[in-house]
C-alpha cells in the first residue's frame, strides 16, 4: 500500500471513529435551541421590564424643579409634609414601592419596600433637577452649559507614508483566531488522549504496525484527529457567520463602524492556525503514547502545555507593537498565536511572515517524525511510563521498519 494511501485510510478511520452524524446534528439542534431560548428569554425580560411600573411618592422639601417623564415606568405622586407618615405606612404595606424625601439640594432619602430597580431613572431625574437649580442660581443658561460639556471634536487623518490602524473588525478577527486555535487544540487534545490511551489499553498497536509504517499511522492520526479540531474551527466560523448576518440585518450601523478585513490578514491568520493545530497535534500524539494509565498519570497535565501560547496572547492584544510580541511571533511554539496577532494589528514585513511560517512548518515536520518514534516505542510499553531520558533516546532512534 502506498504510504499516502495508508495515511488517508488511517485519517478517515480516526476521524470517523469519533464523528457521529446523530450527535453532531443533536449538538447543532441543542446550540440553536439554546441561542433561541437565550434570545427569547432576553426579549421576554426586556418586555417584562418595560411593562413593570413603580409607584413612588415624593416629598420635595428642597423645592427642586423635579420633572418626571410621564412615559417612564416610574409613576410619581407628590405629597405634602403632612402625608409623610401615611406614605411611610403605605411603603411598609407594599401599596407603593418607595417614598423619596428630598431634604436639600444635595441630599435625598429613599425609603423602599424592596430593592429599588428604578434607581437609575430616579437618580437621573434628581441630578437633572439639581443641575437646573444650580445653573439658575448661578445665572447660567441651560443651552450654554450643554454646549460647554460637549466633547471636543478631533478629526483624525493619517499621513500617506504612515500606517493605518487596525479596524475594529480586524481586532475582532485576532480574537476569533485565538479562540479558534484554543478550541481546536482543546478538542484535539481530548480526542488524542482518548484515542491513543484506549488503543494502548486495547493493544491494537501490533496489529496496525505490522501492516503499515508507524510514521504513516501517526500521520494519519494527526490528520484525522486534527479534523475534529478543524471541525470546531468550522463551527466557530459558522456561528460567527450567522452572528454577522444577524448584525448586518438588525444593526447595520454597527457593521459599518467595524470596518473591513483585508484578505491577506485573513489568509495569514488561517495559515498559522492550521499549521499550529497540526504542530500541537503531533506533540500530543507522541506524548499520549507514553501515558500508561490516563486516570493516574501525572503526565496528563503536560498535555495542557499547548494551550499556553494562546492564553499568553490575550493580555498583549492591546500592545501588538511590543518587542516580546515580535520575538514570540518567530518562535515556532508560540508563533501560531502571536504572528496572526501582530500581522492583523500592526505592519509586519512579508519576509517575517514567510520566515515564521516556514519555521513553524519545518518544526511541524520534525515534530511528527519525533512523535512517530516516541509513539512506536511508547505504544509497546505496558505497565509503566518511560522516563524522560528514555523518551529522548527513542526520539533519536529511527524506525527499523523504514
Amino acid at each position: 500500500m502506498k504510504p499516502w494511501s495508508s495515511v488517508l485510510t488511517v485519517a478517515r478511520w480516526e476521524f470517523m471513529r469519533y464523528f457521529k452524524w446523530k450527535q453532531e446534528l443533536l449538538m447543532f439542534g441543542i446550540l440553536i435551541g439554546f441561542y433561541a431560548l437565550l434570545g427569547f428569554g432576553q426579549a421576554a425580560l426586556e418586555l417584562a421590564k418595560r411593562n413593570t411600573e413603580y409607584q413612588v411618592e415624593v416629598l420635595n422639601l428642597a423645592g427642586l424643579p423635579l420633572g418626571f417623564d410621564p412615559a417612564s415606568n416610574l409613576k410619581v405622586s407628590r405629597i405634602d409634609p403632612g402625608e409623610e407618615v401615611w406614605s411611610r405606612r403605605k411603603v411598609g404595606l407594599g401599596e407603593i414601592d418607595a417614598l423619596v424625601i428630598v431634604r436639600s439640594v444635595d441630599a435625598a432619602e429613599l425609603i423602599a419596600h424592596s430593592e429599588p430597580r428604578f434607581m437609575d431613572a430616579l437618580r437621573q431625574t434628581l441630578d437633572r433637577a439639581r443641575r437646573e437649580h444650580e445653573l439658575a442660581a448661578a445665572g447660567v443658561a441651560q443651552a450654554d452649559f450643554e454646549r460647554w460639556t460637549q466633547p471636543m471634536t478631533i478629526e483624525v487623518s493619517y499621513h500617506e507614508e504612515g500606517r493605518l490602524p487596525a479596524t475594529r473588525a480586524e481586532k475582532v478577527l485576532v480574537i476569533v483566531f485565538l479562540v479558534m486555535l484554543l478550541s481546536a487544540i482543546m478538542t484535539s487534545f481530548a480526542y488524542f488522549f482518548v484515542s491513543i490511551t484506549s488503543e494502548k489499553q486495547a493493544r491494537v498497536a501490533e496489529q496496525i504496525v505490522s501492516a503499515i509504517p508507524t510514521q504513516a499511522w501517526i500521520d494519519g492520526k494527526i490528520l484525522g484527529i486534527s479534523g475534529h479540531g478543524l471541525k470546531s474551527v468550522l463551527y466557530i466560523a459558522l456561528f460567527g457567520g450567522l452572528a454577522l448576518l444577524a448584525l448586518a440585518k438588525f444593526a447595520p450601523e454597527l457593521m459599518a463602524k467595524a470596518g473591513g478585513i483585508s484578505p491577506d490578514k485573513l489568509a495569514v491568520g488561517l495559515a498559522f492556525v492550521l499549521l499550529g493545530i497540526l504542530f500541537w497535534s503531533a506533540f500530543m500524539a507522541g506524548f499520549a503514547a507514553t501515558i500508561d494509565d490516563p486516570n493516574n498519570s501525572a503526565r496528563s497535565t503536560v498535555m495542557f502545555v499547548p494551550m499556553l501560547p494562546v492564553i499568553l496572547a490575550f493580555p498583549v492584544l492591546d500592545h501588538p507593537e511590543l518587542g516580546v510580541v515580535a520575538f514570540l511571533s518567530w518562535i515556532p511554539v508560540t508563533s501560531m498565536a502571536f504572528m496572526p496577532l501582530r500581522h492583523a494589528l500592526t505592519d509586519v514585513p512579508w519576509w517575517e511572515v514567510a520566515g515564521s511560517l516556514a519555521l513553524l512548518a519545518l518544526l511541524t515536520f520534525y515534530m511528527r517524525r519525533y512523535a512517530s518514534r516516541i509513539f512506536r516505542a511508547g505504544m509497546f510499553m505496558y505497565g509503566k511510563e518511560p522516563s524522560w531520558r528514555e523518551m529522548w533516546r527513542w526520539m533519536r532512534e529511527p524506525d527499523p521498519a523504514q
Binding site: 485510510t9 484506549s198 488503543e199 486495547a202 493493544r203 501490533e206 496496525i208 505490522s210 501492516a211
Partner: protein, 309 residues
C-alpha cells in the same frame, strides 16, 4: 523457501530474549514455535514482522517483490497474542479498515469480509460493536482480520485461544485448508495436542534458545522416546521393579497399582514384556506413541535443570 531466520539474536537491556535462533518456513507448510512464557517467541515474532530488528543474524523473507528483512506487510497475516481490536467499533467497519491497511481495494475488502463473516457465523453481527461479542467471537474477528487479504505468510500467536472444542476443530480445518492453498503458517500455541495434529515441523524454545526442532518423529527420536506403556496391576507394585527393564527411559507412578513407562526409541518390546510378566499380575496394558506434551515438558525441564545452580 518462504522465510528463513538465520542465527537471529535479540538483546534487551538486561535480558537476551533470543539467542542464535535458526529455522525456515516453506510455502504450504505449518511450523509451530513452542516454549514456556519468556522463551522468546514474542520477541522472535516481532523481529519476523519488522517491529524490531535482530541485533545479530539475518531474516530473509522471499516476497513477490524480492528478498526482504522481514515479512512484507501486504503478504503478512498476523494474529497477535493479545487481542488487538477497537472494541468500541462495529465488527464490519473494523475488518474493512484492517483489510484496507493491508492494501486491499474497498470493493474486494467488502466482498471478502462478507464471505469470511458468513463462514465464521458472524454475518448477522457485522454491525454490532466488538465489545458486544463473546471472547470466542472476538477471536474469530481477529482471525478474519489476519486472513482477509489472502496473505502468503501467516503468523498466528495463540490462534485457538478463547475457542471451544468445536471452534478449535473448525480452526484446525481452516489452517489445513490454507496450507493446501500454499500459505506458509508459523504458529505458537499452548494446545499441544492440536499443534501435534497440525504442525509439519516444530521448534521448541526455552530461554531464547532453540531446544529441539523437527517433525514429530524427529522430535521423538531426538528426545530418545518412542512410546508410552501404561500398566495396571491387581496389587501395588514398586517403581524400582521397572527402572532396570531394558529400553525404559522414565517410570511415572500414576497410582499405587498403576505406572507409565516412557520407552526409549530402541526399546525391545518382546524383552520388555517378558520382564514385566515376571512381576505382579497384570490387569491391563495400553500403548501409545509419545506425545508432544511429554517431549515439551522433558525438553524444558532438562534445560531448566541444566541452568539451575
Amino acid at each position: 523457501m518462504l522465510l528463513a531466520a538465520e542465527s537471529i539474536t535479540k538483546q534487551y537491556a538486561t535480558v537476551r530474549a533470543v539467542e542464535a535462533l535458526s529455522f525456515t518456513l516453506d510455502s504450504g507448510r505449518i511450523h509451530a514455535l513452542l516454549g514456556p512464557n519468556g522463551a522468546g517467541k514474542t520477541s522472535t515474532v516481532r523481529m519476523l514482522i519488522g517491529l524490531t530488528r535482530p541485533d545479530a543474524g539475518r531474516i530473509a523473507y522471499h516476497a513477490r517483490a524480492g528478498v526482504q528483512g522481514h515479512v512484507a506487510a501486504d503478504e503478512l497475516g498476523y494474529l497477535p497474542e493479545e487481542r488487538g481490536l477497537y472494541v468500541d467499533q462495529p465488527v464490519l467497519a473494523q475488518v474493512l479498515y484492517l483489510a484496507r491497511l493491508r492494501g486491499m481495494a474497498g470493493a474486494d475488502a467488502r466482498r471478502e469480509a462478507a464471505r469470511w463473516l458468513e463462514r465464521f457465523a458472524l454475518a448477522d453481527r457485522a454491525k454490532e460493536k466488538v465489545s458486544a461479542l463473546s471472547k470466542g467471537n472476538q477471536q474469530k474477528v481477529q482471525l478474519i482480520t489476519a486472513l482477509i487479504h489472502r496473505p502468503r505468510c501467516l503468523i498466528l500467536d495463540e490462534p485457538f485461544s478463547g475457542f471451544d472444542p468445536i471452534n478449535q476443530e473448525l480452526t484446525l480445518e481452516l489452517l489445513r485448508e490454507l496450507r493446501a492453498q500454499g500459505v506458509g503458517i508459523l504458529l505458537s500455541a499452548h494446545q499441544m495436542q492440536l499443534v501435534e495434529r497440525l504442525a509439519d515441523r516444530i521448534v521448541l524454545m526455552n530461554r531464547g534458545r532453540q531446544v529441539m526442532a523437527g517433525t514429530m518423529d524427529e522430535l521423538r527420536r531426538e528426545a530418545g522416546l518412542a512410546g508410552r506403556l501404561t500398566l495396571t496391576f491387581d496389587e501395588a507394585v514398586p517403581e524400582t521393579l521397572f527402572a532396570s527393564l531394558p529400553g525404559v527411559a522414565v517410570v511415572e507412578r500414576l497410582a499405587s497399582d498403576r505406572v507409565a513407562l516412557l520407552l526409549g526409541d530402541r526399546a525391545d518390546l518382546n524383552a520388555l514384556l517378558v520382564g514385566i510378566g515376571r512381576g505382579a499380575r497384570l490387569k491391563a496394558i495400553a500403548s501409545e506413541a509419545i506425545g508432544l506434551h511429554e517431549i515439551y515438558l522433558r525438553a524444558v525441564s532438562t534445560i531448566e535443570a541444566e541452568v539451575q545452580p
